[in-house]
Amino acid sequence: MSTPPLTSRRPEILLAVLLSACLVALSLQVRRPTGESVGERWLQSILGPFVDLVAGVRTAGGDLAEWSSSRRALLSENRQLRSSAEALEAELLRLRGVERDRDRLLALFGAHAAPPAGTVAARLVAVEAAGPFRTALLDRGADDGLSPGGVVVAAEGLLGRVVAVGAGTARVQLLSDRVAAAGVLLARQGRAAVARGDGRGGATILYVPTIEAVEVNDPVVTSGTDGLYPTDLPVGRVLSVNRKADSLFWEIQVAMAVDPARAARVFVLPPVRTSDAPAGAAARR
């Protein structure tokens, strides 16, 4: 069956066009009992998917804008939190430093729970270790109540004593100084002896007979017999024990309990008075 030519179909095409035009015109005018026109209903049916699409795009756009806004807010909040975290980290580091200082102080007060009246806290601002003489400089002086003979201790033990005082500074003779000496006690054996600075950062214990069983790492504390230092202040530990061939005494090297280069904070105890015998007991507390 062949398709008729266009010229013969023209009346039907024209008929369809005219009738469609009339129907469209009518549908735009006629209102159904429900109140809406047929054209509006047809238009709604045709445009419904498009309207849904536009509404969907609009909703998606709104969601996207909201997401973008939330993202900006989150980024801003993230920046603030990072900044806050950095500040908190810095604060934490500072607090850790403070905690270390507190621990040192607690250790000091732990060793001397009730420090003698007149105890002054100070800083070691300089250590002179050139040559055989070992001294240090404190940032406190006579104006702060320091006087010659004051005992300088750190958290770990005895450091030395004050030998000269200025208005705002004081010089300390370290126990490792070549001309410094102190009465000490080998705590394990209960043997009294004398420790003298070796000028190299340590000390040598003299006059311990070879019949004493001295071992490395034995603790050494002050004996209080010298009238310079209170008793029971840690001096150090035995580093080595030697004996000369013709000698009746051990030659004992002591590693000092306190490294002056690391003892930033110290306490200066009042000088020990020889007439004040119980002062050693008070310091022991």
Partner: protein, 167 residues
């Protein structure tokens, strides 16, 4: 020529409809159907449908009360196509056949109007059958009369009368 004839027919139909409406007659012929039928018989389906469109629009404009614009245009385009299709297949020259065909067209248009309004409004608005029949009869009679009048050789008669006066 057909276009001028159509324009004249539409103008006369409009004037006639307005005049008959002013008289308030109970049953008036569908004057707009006459130029549609004439175009279908002389110019074929395209001209008949265009004539139907124009006639229908005019009828919608002059109808009292105002109708929907395009309502009668739709039905008259359809009637024009139907009449042109019939005229293309048969030879209708007798006045009775012309009158009957147009009377049937009036009935067919009424049915088409009812169906169209039912589709558009969702409710069937049936016109009084007697009114439809009387309108169809009036239209058929007028179309038959016009067909009779169109078959009279008016020009030859006028020439013969003039020759008689001169002779």
């Amino acid at each position: 020529m057909n276009s001028l004839r159509l324009a004249a027919g539409l103008a006369l139909s409009t004037l006639g409809t307005l005049g008959l409406g002013a008289l308030g007659l109970p049953a008036t012929p569908d004057l707009f159907l006459l130029p549609v039928g004439d175009s279908a018989r002389r110019g074929g389906a395209p001209l008949a449908m265009v004539a139907g469109l124009l006639a229908g629009l005019l009828e919608d404009l002059v109808s009292v009360p105002g109708r929907l614009l395009g309502l009668h245009a739709f039905t008259k385009v359809l009637i024009g196509y139907v009449l042109a299709t019939i005229a293309a297949r048969t030879v209708i020259e007798k006045p009775a056949a012309v009158g009957g065909l147009l009377a049937g067209a009036v009935v067919l248009e009424s049915v088409a109007l009812v169906l169209l309004l039912w589709i558009l409004r969702g409710e069937a608005l049936l016109p009084p059958p007697l009114l439809v029949l009387s309108r169809a009869a009036a239209t058929g009679l007028l179309a038959g009369a016009l067909q009779v009048a169109s078959r009279v050789p008016w020009r030859e008669r006028r020439e013969a009368r003039r020759r008689m006066k001169l002779g």
